[in-house]
């Protein structure tokens, strides 16, 4: 090899080697730049992560609060099983509120994408009066599981319907909605160290958030003597074209009677549950006292026919007359062969006397009927005998007066002259004092404006 070739070889080899080292260095540099970029990226990630985990404490607290809220939501919203029970719950509500469910239809609601809860809704068709409906609504809206009413339509009962049936059957169509919540499994939850301790420290916040979600429950206090706004309150005009009592007055009267009847029923329970004979006698005497005045008022109201507002009439029958009848029946049965007590006899006697003063002879007989048929048991009791005699006397008096009222007496005129016996034209016949006008009916005295008769030993006057 000559020098020239060698030189060329050395130069070429040296350059090739230098190029190789240069390439190696270049790639090494590239690698370094890449690593630097990755390091920079990593540094950014570290910064981001540090910033992120700075908030872990707060987030952890938030999750604890939210988990505890889940327990609350679980209590408020039904799960699938509770939803299946919803129909049974509605059935119970309807029974407790006297609402008649006439139809129940599940509404098909498509599940919204990403919705937090499944939506369940029913459309109910009901029959009820306003207060039964309010009872039902109250039970639904204050139920432990969330139920809301987004729509309802009430069609008031026709006047003819409630006049015939005695109660208003409004037709109601109502949507009831709830939301289903399936609580997550505990295994799906992120494990938080010292959960219980941390939760205890957050009790205040948990309660505050719960309060924020809690539903305001309305305290419904029943009808409270109010009239049903979907019932026509107009009453038939009386004979003189005027109604003696307003609807509100009629409702108030019936309400008072209902309350007194309930008190009498409570007293009856007390009587039956008395621990000894003395206590029973005291309770029974009080009951007789209550019943006597109550029955007297009921008799007067019936006689006056002052309750003409149909819902009040119905209430009077169902909540006063029927329970009183039942109570009397119970009292009679409990008395067995003993007959009415002194207290009962006294109460009836006082009631009859009050009716006598008020000239309510038919009501005297009504009062007498309370003990009629039982008096034979006490005929031989020296303590109760005087009451029986007086009751019989008053009953005879009332009957005589009523029968006397039924006798037709037409007075054509009277002639009263000094020194001459007075005379009267009765039923077209001239009669004087002592004359008989009819069976057991004698003239006792003739005055200018009335004639006094003796009828079955009772002195009675007929004005003309």
């Amino acid at each position: 090899m000559n020098e020239k070739k060698l030189l060329t070889g050395i130069i070429a080899g040296g350059l090739a080697l230098a190029a190789g080292i240069g390439a190696l260095t270049y790639y090494e540099h590239q690698e370094i730049e890449l690593t630097r970029a990755e390091a920079a990226d990593l540094r950014t990630k570290i910064d981001v992560s540090r910033n992120l985990i700075e908030g872990t404490g707060a987030l952890e607290r938030e999750v604890i609060v939210l988990r505890e809220m889940t327990e609350f939501i679980k209590d408020v919203l039904p799960d699938s099983e509770n939803v299946n029970n919803l129909v049974r719950t509605l059935q119970r509500f309807s029974e407790d509120s006297n609402v008649r469910i006439r139809g129940l239809k599940k509404k098909d609601i498509a599940k919204e994408k990403g919705a937090a809860f499944d939506h369940v809704a029913y459309t109910l068709t009901l029959e009820a009066d306003s207060f039964e409906l309010l009872d039902f609504l109250y039970m639904a809206e204050s139920h432990e599981r969330f139920i809301r009413v987004p729509r309802f339509k009430l069609t008031g009962a026709k006047r003819k319907q409630f006049e015939e049936d005695g109660y208003a059957a409004h037709r109601v169509q109502m949507d009831l909605e709830t939301f289903v919540y399936e609580a997550p499994n505990a295994s799906e939850l992120v494990k938080i160290e010292g959960y219980d301790r941390k939760r205890d420290l957050l009790i205040g916040e948990i309660n505050r958030r719960r309060m924020g979600l809690a539903l305001d429950k309305y305290d419904y206090r029943g009808p409270r003597g109010r009239r049903d706004p979907w019932v026509d309150p107009r009453v038939p005009v009386a004979g003189d074209g005027e109604s003696a009592l307003t609807v509100q007055e009629q409702m108030d009267i019936v309400q008072d009677l209902v309350e007194r009847t309930q008190a009498a029923e409570a007293q009856w329970d007390l009587t039956r549950g008395a621990e000894n004979v003395i206590a029973e006698m005291v309770a029974r005497a009080d009951l007789e006292d209550m019943l006597a005045t109550l029955e007297e008022d009921v008799r007067r109201i019936d006689a006056e026919a002052s309750i003409r507002y149909v819902p009040s009439q119905r209430r009077l029958q169902l909540e006063v007359n029927d329970p009183l009848l039942e109570l009397r029946r119970g009292l009679l049965n409990s008395e067995g062969g003993r007959g009415p007590s002194v207290e009962k006899l006294r109460e009836v006697l006082e009631a009859m006397n009050r009716h006598l003063v008020a000239e309510e002879y038919d009501l005297m007989l009504e009062a007498y009927r309370l003990v009629d048929g039982q008096l034979s048991f006490v005929q031989n009791d020296p303590l109760r005998r005087p009451f029986v005699d007086e009751l019989n006397r008053l009953q005879g008096l009332a009957r005589t007066v009523m029968e006397f009222d039924e006798i037709q007496i037409v007075v054509g005129g009277v002639a009263i002259l000094h020194g001459v016996p007075s005379a009267a034209l009765v039923n077209g016949r001239s009669v004087g004092v002592g004359d008989t006008v009819g069976e057991e009916l004698y003239i006792r005295e003739i005055r200018t404006d009335e004639i006094e008769f003796v009828f079955r030993g009772v002195i009675l006057a007929r004005r003309f």
């Binding site: 690593t35 987004p150 309802f152 069609t155 706004p229 109604s243």
Partner: protein
Amino acid sequence: MIHINLLPEEYRRKQRTPIKLMLAVSGAVAVNATAVAFWGWTAFGIAAEVQSEFSVLQTEMDGLSPQVAYHKALEGESKVYKHREDTLAGITAKRISWTQKVDELIDVVNRGGDGQRHLVWLDDLNVTQEGDKRSKGAGGLKAGGHSGSDKFAQVANFLEDVENSPFITDFNPPAPPEGSESIVDEELMPAVVWAFPLELDLKTAEERQ
């Protein structure tokens, strides 16, 4: 032509590397030695330093990763819960206690003093709320009313009582009174009845709050 050097070894002219060759070799060696040195500095100096720094950062990141994963898991759980809570809050905010509203309406109807101020009764009641396809806006309440009096002013009295009662808190004020004489029945008291509409729009959930 072939030259033959016949001189003994010690007398022969010393053979020397040609200067050009020398320079070429020296140059090649110098350039390559420098290149190798630079590469070595890059590979074992800078690259190692960068790699080391990267390793430190990676170690740090590895330390942070479980915490980040924990945070993200909490975040995911929180999002789901928050969505539920917000949804429930929305549902409860929109809910109206119709027990309360109907009870309050009954109160207003019963405050007429049996016709002294008004004697009103209703034919029906139609309630719709936001979310119902049939409701416009936030929903509302409609009823056909009757005033048992020949004085139409009693309808105004009733609407005034509605407006001044707690019942109205969730509704916008009612429209001015209007109506027509509908029934005259001499067998009932009162004989003259005016019919009027009762229409109330619900306030929005925000307004009710």
